[in-house]
Amino acid sequence: EAGVTQFPSHSVIEKGQTVTLRCDPISGHDNLYWYRRVMGKEIKFLLHFVKESKQDESGMPNNRFLAERTGGTYSTLKVQPAELEDSGVYFCASSSPTPIQDNEQFFGPGTRLTVL
């Protein structure tokens, strides 16, 4: 069974440009999470999908970030326009349905975003 995959693995863009990160969760996992780690800081929660619905987006930094999960399968996270402080590693995780606290969140390898 394939794990969580993320694309691209690395992205280098200039300030003001747009970048779209993609996450493919494990098949059958209704829960999909995005996290971000800024250099030197802890991994922080961004948002949580249950199927195609945003369950919790309290961690999204601002309205330059837009996450979607059409059809409840893969998810995209778009940053537009990108700023320097958006640099970091973006992790995606998925888990199977309830009870969600009992289920392991499986993490992808992350996308390293560098904004110049």
Binding site: F45, Q105, F107, P109
Partner: protein, 116 residues
């Protein structure tokens, strides 16, 4: 504010030596507790978790952790470290934040170097 603290940013041990990585959390109730490991180029892998019951939990790769309620700690241990254990280790707590909103909150991580 709720938080997870890993006081050691970087630890170096010799191969074969014992290891203890510290983790303290600050929450009102007993959270769900996790240790993850990230090897270079890999996603976060779950080592072990604690929900309830026996406070000493066994994980993969020979790791164990002990939950101590009185100290709000969940320290990770291994009796004999192998060179392949060199990686970054993250302590995390899972917490509901209202309704069905559930997320992981991470410490800043501890980078483990293993000397031959």
């Amino acid at each position: 504010a709720q938080s997870v603290t890993q006081p050691d940013i970087h630890i170096t041990v010799s191969e074969g030596a014992s290891l203890e990585l510290r983790c303290n959390y600050s929450y009102g109730a007993t959270p769900y507790l996790f240790w993850y490991v990230q090897s270079p180029g890999q996603g976060l892998q779950l080592l072990l978790k604690y929900f309830s019951g026996d406070t000493l939990v066994q994980g993969i790769k020979g790791f164990e952790a002990e939950f101590k309620r009185s100290q709000s700690s969940f320290n990770l241990r291994k009796p004999s470290v192998h060179w392949s254990d060199a990686a970054e280790y993250f302590c995390a707590v899972g917490l509901y934040s209202g309704g069905s909103n559930y997320k992981l909150t991470f410490g800043k991580g501890t980078l483990l170097t293993v000397n031959p």
